[in-house]
Symmetry: C2
Subunit: 216 residues, 2 copies
DNA sequence: TTATTTTTTTAGACTTGCCTAAAATTATAA
DNA sequence: TTATAATTTTAGGCAAGTCTAAAAAAATAA
């Protein structure tokens, strides 16, 4: 079994791997709010356990085994988030920190039964896909609003930023999962995006548009 | 907040306090499968945090604050056990280890919502009372079979030993929570107890009789 | 291409929680 | 009451995971 710290590193490396082939020491340090020297130590340890590929100064990638472990953590995290929202009626922006703790509950049987209890959901409350018990995960196929063309329309299905402040902003603007939006225009000057939703127009910044994912 | 190790110590001290005024270092060491010297270290730390009363060579007791923390851990443990049995359909002897991990999930709001979701249960699957959100707990008022008089009858409502092997034995003998039993005779020679249940007789050892609690 | 900056690693130290072995204290027995 | 046994504490050490400061390597700029 892996320690809590090891699990957190694997999850961070998995997340960063989605947008980079080889993950750098500094990226991991930033993601985990720790120092680069600590990352070097831990990455060595994970390499010894054959969970990551690592060569000095060359960055890190997950091995097959490491990816499997990471996907399992992601599965647990997202299933618990789903439980918290669907059964305990938390808001989608309230569940991340709780799930950070719950994802480390180790029993596989428990998580499989939770999966069944929830009716084998395929996405968590933020629209992210939930890996199945074999670690298969649906490729997201979601695009940030910032990169789609004007006059396309889609359903909000995920976010790229899970911080409470961002989710609360979305909540307040009613930009929630499942809402259909149409991208009307992207202003050249600062990349502000003009959206239509519920027959009303609203503007969002490039930053926000980057972190709202839609299924077209 | 308290560390995982601290929480486990508080829980152990709480448990041992039910049958002893001052808990000894060795008792705690045995309960947690650790060494006496480790216990001394941790007990000092808990005393510094005002969670236990401690004087060298004099044993340990929980302070009001310490007891509140301990009861909260017990509450979390028992509510999760209830959830695992009622919603995820685990057997009563399968849930202890999982709940040992789940009891450390820290959110109070989470546990209160779980409580509501389960319908405010008052006892866990082993018959132990669940403290409410203010730390009030129903005095057990349960007696081990070994100490009741012949020809009394009662309902199995708790166990004094939560090990898998013991619970499996009970399961196999159908000595489960809610079953009504009548104590027919206690053999003087070795304190073997003769029970009647479902109109059949069965014998249990003094050891087992000590660990089955009935409400009369 | 060399100099400077940035990134990464190494070295050494700290905290938590545990250990063993020895010393101190308390309990028990002769 | 004194000797022996058991319990508890102290002393010193170890592993995990973190940190700071300095050295090494790589990337970038002049």
């Amino acid at each position: 079994m892996n320690t809590l710290a090891e699990e957190n590193y694997l999850k961070a490396i998995y997340k960063l791997s989605l947008t980079a082939r080889n993950v750098s020491t500094n990226q991991i340090a930033a993601e985990l709010a720790t120092k680069a020297s600590s990352v070097t130590d831990m990455v060595r340890k994970l390499a010894d356990k054959a969970l990551v590929n690592y060569a000095r100064y060359q960055g890190v990638s997950l091995t097959k085994t490491g990816e499997k472990v990471a996907l399992n953590i992601v599965r647990r995290h997202r299933l618990w988030e789903h439980f918290l929202v669907e059964k305990l009626h938390f808001k989608w922006h309230e569940v991340h920190e709780m799930a950070e703790e719950m994802e480390h509950i180790s029993s596989t049987e428990l998580i499989n039964r939770l999966d069944a209890f929830m009716g084998y959901p395929t996405r968590d409350p933020h629209g992210d896909p939930i890996p199945d018990c074999d670690g298969n995960i649906k490729a997201s196929a979601l695009k940030p609003i910032s990169i789609v063309k004007a006059n396309t329309s889609g359903v909000i299905s995920g976010v790229g930023d899970h911080t409470t402040s961002f989710l609360q902003y979305l909540e307040q603007q009613k930009l929630t999962i499942g809402k259909r939006v149409t991208i009307k225009e992207i202003i050249g000057y600062d990349n502000t995006v003009i959206l239509e939703m519920d027959n009303k127009q609203l503007q969002i910044s490039r930053e926000v548009a980057n972190n709202i994912l839609i299924a077209i």
